[in-house]
């Protein structure tokens, strides 16, 4: 009986070289892992713990007083500014994100075309990302550089106020007032769209062109479906950016509550605010995911179905193989116990 060579299971025990490679791999990702543990997971758990307490930090010690859901009730019942800001933030984000994404896509398509000084234009549109951050942005906003002077925002406010609630009208007016700033936020998104556009196979456009498709048709049939995942990516990026940048009033409010010395506020109060805000941001991201998440087409569904069938077949084959092996072992054991008589050919069967 020939002995079959045992095939090594790729998911089994690692060899010496593989172990060494794995160690080196872990070593290289260690800074990131430590960073995530220290600066993401630990603060996350800490803030989750904090939100159930009133925390006073004296020069000598930190005093934790358990308040249960006290911080939450106080925020909603005694801080009218927070719910107001949440409503404003919701409206602004839902309106601003599409503006940013559509603007970024338009600019990216233009920058992807064959135009003179293309590199310079790409630099110009990305420049705000580099220079307009933090204090520079604050200063520009204070100086009124983020708004269009010719735009009469008061008229816009009056127009919207006539048929919308004032808080909503204010939110929408603010979008017009900060229009330039919103467009400045498009730098990274333009870059993402550019890289997506450059990955589209030009042969597809050529084929479409040969079939008589116009540029407009090519955009809707080729460009947009191909970069659809990137639209979602940019929408999510924009939501996160708008939710966490320094211009966001809610961030300022949480920061101010965190460092507030009054007996009601402090770290616990700010942590409760931050968690509620995080849940709202997650819901907005989920909303955009539901709106822009790719729905698989017929071809995708067929491929998936075929893949599932192949997998099922493979599982069946393995099952049969295992059963065959088990039966073979059973027969072998019985043979060894001489329960089975094998026909020797010498007499009648």
């Amino acid at each position: 009986m020939s002995k079959e060579k045992k095939v090594k299971d790729p998911r089994g025990k690692l060899g010496k070289l593989e172990k060494r490679e794995a160690r080196v791999g872990y070593f290289f990702v260690a800074p990131w892992l430590i960073g995530v543990a220290l600066f993401l997971l630990y603060p996350l758990c800490q803030s989750f713990y904090y939100m159930w307490f009133n925390i006073r930090i004296t020069p000598l010690q930190t005093v934790y007083t358990y308040v249960g859901t006290g911080n939450f009730t106080q925020i909603w019942l005694e801080n009218p500014e927070f719910p107001q800001q949440i409503v404003t933030y919701l409206w602004q984000t839902i309106v601003e994100v599409p503006i940013i994404v559509v603007f970024a896509l338009m600019i990216a398509i233009m920058l992807n075309g064959k135009i003179k000084c293309r590199g310079l234009f790409r630099l110009i549109f990305f420049l705000p990302v580099i220079i307009v951050s933090g204090p520079v942005m604050n200063m520009l906003v204070t100086e009124g550089a983020a708004s269009i002077p010719a735009l009469n925002t008061e008229s816009i406010m009056t127009a919207f106020d006539a048929f919308l609630p004032t808080s909503l009208a204010e939110s929408i007016t603010e979008i017009f007032a900060d229009m330039i700033m919103i467009l400045w936020y498009s730098g990274v998104q333009i870059l993402i769209f550019l890289s997506a556009l450059q990955k589209i196979d030009s042969a597809m456009y050529e084929a479409a062109s040969m079939d008589g498709a116009s540029g407009w048709e090519s955009f809707w049939k080729i460009t947009l479906p191909t970069i659809k995942p990137y639209i979602l990516l940019n929408a999510v990026y924009s939501v996160i950016f708008l939710s966490s940048n320094e211009q966001n009033e809610l961030i300022t409010m949480i920061q101010s509550a965190m460092f507030s010395g009054t007996k009601e506020k402090g770290y616990g109060y700010a942590a409760a605010m931050a968690w509620m805000y995080a849940v709202i941001v997650t819901l907005i991201v989920l909303l955009f995911f539901l709106l822009l998440g790719s729905k698989k087409d017929m071809y995708d569904r067929q491929v998936k179905r075929r893949q599932r069938a192949v997998k099922k077949e493979a599982r069946l084959v393995k099952k049969i193989e295992r059963r065959g092996k088990r039966n073979a072992k059973k027969i072998e054991r019985a043979r060894q116990k001489r329960k089975y008589k094998t026909y020797s050919g010498e007499s009648d069967y």
Binding site: V24, F27, R56, I57, T58, P59, L60, T65, E78, P80, S256, M258, F259, S260, G261, T262, K263, E264, G266
Partner: protein, 506 residues
């Protein structure tokens, strides 16, 4: 092997770097000189709201006096943020001056300095209200802080406007009613040439709350008629209503950034203080030295160049004709922190930087030398210079000499300085729970706007506002000084505050 060495090196570097972040604490060896001051080489940190250059120079003067003590100063940009961050990081200053007492008391930032204060004879020669009203004791028997910076309110009268309108200068010991009459008389003309009787930075109701009554009737030691145990906002309501009535009747100049200002002067950003068309200004004391007493780059005095004004200081008048009366003032309170390892030395530093005669002598050297300028190139007497808290005559003589000395102006300034010896700090600088009251009730309902635009009468709010103010004060007193705070209140005191809270919630 190389990788292992590299990994070890990285680990070692990280460990050393982390060790560098540790707190370099020091401990006292207990050696002191004959005055009880340590002879060890120590470092004290002083955080403040004043001009940083002034404070650095003062710190140098202190270090000359105590060569073994190094003082590091830092200007606070936001009290809550800076001190909370410092408490979290374990880098809390040894001494700090703050603007908001609720933050300091809620977090037990200040320690008890009663013993040092009471045993220091120099503290008896201070502006009277500091000891009389226990400013810095917060209505307890313990001193946690002391005023270190003070600027009393001032009413300025534009002498040029008075002459232009053929009026006579009011008496320097004018009463409240005389001031209101003067404001009304000085409001003349219309359109772009209109003269307003009053321009304001400080609202009159803030001033009236202190000036409303003689000390014999009610011992008002804080805003909103606070007498140390409870509030009475009926005084405030009279001032609030009177001010609103003046505004609506057109006696008060518009504020910057308003359409009314645009209608008056054609520029919404104009400021009444340099128009030469406002007779009385309810301004911060600092406005004189910081703005009106400056000279432009071309050598022309500010007042001559802008508006041709001639501002003369008047004390905030009292309702009754009392020469010596309380005046509301902006006061920063300073204290020694609970984490300080050298409290006595820190107290000496606090005193030197705030109210001590030695410190003020050093301050005068700095203010008198106009060649010394701050980071903005401004002589230090024009950088939010406070008034001395000590009553030492030598200091006051030198101080008064920093102000106009000509015969037309000196008498007014002398009278003004003689009448500001009873400062009473604003509520957030001295009363426990004041900020919560404003934040949770007073500012939330927007009383000022309602009364100013005539849609409500201040008197209608007085009773409920008094009830609310007393509740927030009682709640804060228990929170700050009760068992969960400094724990210095007697059972009777706690019971008294609890009864007040109970009556409020019923």
């Amino acid at each position: 092997m190389k990788k292992k060495t590299l990994a070890l090196l990285l680990c070692a570097t990280t460990v050393f770097a982390m060790a560098g972040c540790g707190n370099q604490g020091s401990s006292s060896s207990g050696n002191v000189d004959e005055n009880g001051v340590t002879t060890d080489d120590i470092t004290l940190t002083y955080w403040h709201y004043e001009d940083e250059t002034t404070m650095q120079l003062l710190a140098e003067a202190f270090m000359e006096k105590y060569p073994n003590i190094t003082v590091e100063t830092r200007q606070i940009s936001d009290m809550s943020t800076d001190l909370s961050a410092a408490a979290t990081a374990g880098t809390f200053p040894d001494v700090f001056a703050g603007t908001d007492v609720d933050t300091a008391l809620a977090n037990q930032y200040w320690r008890d300095i009663t013993e040092y204060w009471n045993n220091d004879p120099e503290n008896q020669n201070l502006m009277a209200t500091i000891n009389e009203y226990g400013i810095g004791c917060f209505d307890t028997n313990v001193r946690y802080a002391a005023p270190v910076w003070c600027q009393p309110s001032a009413m300025f009268v534009d002498k040029n406007v008075v002459e232009t309108l053929n009026l006579t200068m009011p008496d320097t010991d004018w009463t409240w009613a005389e001031m209101i009459d003067f404001i009304k008389t000085a409001t003349q003309g219309s359109g772009n040439d209109k003269y307003y009787g009053l321009g304001y930075y400080n609202r009159l109701d803030s001033l009236y709350g202190i000036a409303a009554v003689s000390s014999d009737v009610r011992r008002i030691k804080g805003e909103f008629g606070f007498n140390g145990t409870d509030y009475d906002l009926s005084y405030w309501a009279i001032g609030e209503q009177e001010f609103a009535d003046l505004k609506r009747a057109g006696y008060v100049a518009p504020l910057q950034g308003t359409m009314e200002m645009f209608d008056w002067l054609g520029d919404p950003d104009a400021w009444f203080g340099n128009t030469g068309h406002a007779a009385v200004a309810s301004e911060g004391f600092w406005t004189f030295q910081n703005i009106w007493n400056t000279t432009s780059d071309d050598g022309v005095p500010y007042q001559e160049k802008y508006g041709g004004t001639d501002w003369i200081p008047y004390v905030t008048p009292n309702v009754v004709d009392e020469k010596e009366h309380n005046t509301i003032a902006s006061m920063y309170l300073g204290g020694v922190s609970t984490s300080c390892k050298y409290p006595y030395e820190a107290y000496l530093l606090l005193k030197f930087m705030g109210w001590g005669v030695d410190g003020w002598s050093a301050r005068m050297d700095i203010y008198e030398d106009e060649s010394i300028v701050n980071a903005s190139g401004v002589p230090l007497k024009q950088a939010m210079m406070p008034v001395p808290l000590t009553l030492d005559q030598t200091i006051w003589d030198r101080y008064k000499a920093l102000f106009p000395q000509d015969a037309d102006h000196k008498p007014y300034w002398d009278d003004y300085f003689d009448s500001i010896t009873r400062p009473v700090p604003f509520g957030w600088q001295s009363i426990a729970g004041y900020w919560n009251f404003c934040d949770q009730y007073f500012n939330k309902i927007g009383i000022h706007d309602l009364v100013d635009n005539g849609s409500a009468q201040a008197a209608d709010y007085a009773e409920e506002a008094t009830r609310q103010a007393n509740y927030y004060h009682a709640e804060a007193m228990i929170s700050y000084f009760g068992p969960k705070g400094y724990d210095i209140l007697s059972e009777d005191e706690i019971a008294q505050y609890e009864a007040l809270i109970a009556s409020f919630t019923q």
